[in-house]
């Protein structure tokens, strides 16, 4: 009943075809998927958690007979949904949304490109691109807002250090960074259209 001699469950020979492919997909995709997620949640613990969700879901649901392009776009779609669910928790709505992830092989939304090319683009062309992104956001803010965010995010100073640097109280530094981010969120929204 549990394991019959003919079917040793842990022998590689007993694995279904396509299972080996599965690890190949993991090897190829774990880093890009992680980068994709990290760029949107901004911290490693959550990025790891969501990356794990994507691949654990893949273990259960991924159809390894699909071609690589479809598999990759499936992974990104699951990743996108995981990110959406993550942010939903911050909006105090139910965190778990399964309805968006269906069987999910329908062609991806054309407005959101999928596939290996898009994934390269999504994961960013690296340092320069990230710097440009930050610069373009910060450039659109008033000088003191820009300054407080630079000190906090780029120089990674504490609130106390930031306050000292700017010659203001800690309380004011907190309020300033709060307003700066509120403004940045509006600016970012406007930019996204």
């Amino acid at each position: 009943m549990a394991t019959t001699p003919e079917q040793p469950s842990d022998s590689p020979a007993a694995e279904a075809p396509g299972r080996g492919l599965f690890e190949e997909i993991y090897e190829a995709q774990v880093v890009p998927i992680y980068r994709f997620i990290y760029a949107r949640v901004g911290n490693a613990p959550d990025a790891e958690d969501l990356t794990a969700q994507v691949f654990m879901r893949a273990v259960e649901q991924l159809d390894t007979t699909r071609d690589m392009g479809q598999i990759v776009s499936w992974l990104y779609r699951v990743g996108q949904n995981a990110i959406a669910d993550y942010w939903r928790a911050f909006y105090r709505l139910p965190v778990i949304g399964t309805d968006q992830v269906g069987a999910g092989w329908e062609p991806a939304d054309t407005s959101e490109r999928s596939g290996p090319e898009a994934s390269r683009e999504r994961s960013g062309a690296g340092e320069d691109r990230a710097r440009k992104q930050v610069d373009s956001l910060l450039r659109r803010l008033p000088a003191n807002y820009r300054r407080v965010l630079e000190l906090r995010f780029i120089q990674r100073l504490s609130v106390a250090e930031t306050a000292d640097e700017m010659g203001i109280t800690r309380g004011n530094a907190k309020v300033l960074q709060y307003r700066a981010l509120r403004k940045a969120a509006l600016v970012g929204e406007a930019a996204d259209g």
Binding site: M1, E23, Y26, V101, E127, F153, A184
Partner: protein, 274 residues
């Protein structure tokens, strides 16, 4: 404005966690505006850390990549190796053991049984069909978990496996006419637990290393008492759960646990007749 000061004070907790590379908490984000700010801050932090590091991108910790690979392999094997034993009516049900004598005396209303039947059917269907089948969630929630008449109602002992097939630390999935579950040998103590996640009815898989039943859909882990082991409350007490990166975000009812008995090297599960 004092109000804004308070908001800014709280939001700084979010930012501190984020900027220090920790896990920020949704509790520090109080309204939709702040959620948008949190998101902007997260993207800013991500881009800034990449720009800062000089590395081409934020790469995952190799230890994490390795750990996830192992978790996946384990889950993959668990899924591949699950074998459902057909319900075998014990040819000669053993003389009712003591618990059975007690249990059969419990009076169960017809309505209760009917509801249990609906719950079981919903659970089984959901387990088979995956996620799509689960609309009436609040209803199935109460019915799927805990001690329903499905567990305690009148019925019979059904043989599910020889004890020898479930060595210490091992588990075996079984089905009876009314129930799908696992028999787990917890170092000599044989337990039975439903294999149906009380969230949405996905089929749980057993992880011998963690001694839990894990849901492949959203990562709920149930301990061998059938209780959610990686929920927020438990997480707070224990400071984490077996390598999970975050707590399970909602609380869930316990898994149903049918009564189990070992006799003459055979495992029997109490099977309510519904």
């Amino acid at each position: 404005m004092a109000d804004e000061r308070d908001l800014a004070e709280r939001f700084d907790h979010y930012l501190d966690a984020l900027i220090n590379g920790g896990r920020p908490s949704p509790d520090d984000v109080g309204n939709p505006d702040e959620a948008g700010m949190a998101r902007t801050a997260a993207e800013l932090a991500a881009a800034a850390s990449v720009a800062q590091s000089g590395a081409p991108a934020a790469d995952p910790d190799p230890a994490f990549v390795e750990q996830l690979r192992l978790r996946m392999r384990q889950a993959d094997q668990a899924i591949a190796s699950v074998q459902v034993s057909l319900p075998v009516r014990g040819a000669r049900p053993p003389a009712p053991a003591e618990p059975a004598g007690q249990l059969t005396r419990i009076r169960v209303s017809r309505r209760g049984l009917l509801q249990a039947g609906i719950g079981a059917a919903a659970g089984l269907a959901a387990g088979a069909l995956g996620i799509a089948a689960l609309r009436p969630q609040s209803r199935s929630r109460t019915l799927l978990g805990g001690d329903s008449p499905l567990i305690k109602g009148p019925g019979f002992w059904q043989a599910v496996a020889p004890l020898a097939n479930v060595p210490p630390g091992g588990a075996l999935r079984f089905t009876t006419a009314s129930f799908a579950g696992y028999v787990v040998n917890d170092n000599g103590e044989v337990r039975t637990l439903s294999s149906v996640c009380t969230h949405m009815g996905c089929t749980l898989y057993y992880r011998p290393d963690w001694k839990d039943l894990r849901c492949p859909c959203h990562g709920a882990s149930f301990d061998l008492n059938g209780q959610l082991a990686n929920g927020r409350d438990r997480w707070k007490q224990t400071g984490g759960y077996n390598g999970d990166a975050s707590a399970y975000p909602v609380s869930l009812p316990d898994l149903a646990r049918p009564t189990v008995m070992v006799r003459d090297g055979q495992i029997y599960v109490w099977t309510a007749q519904i």
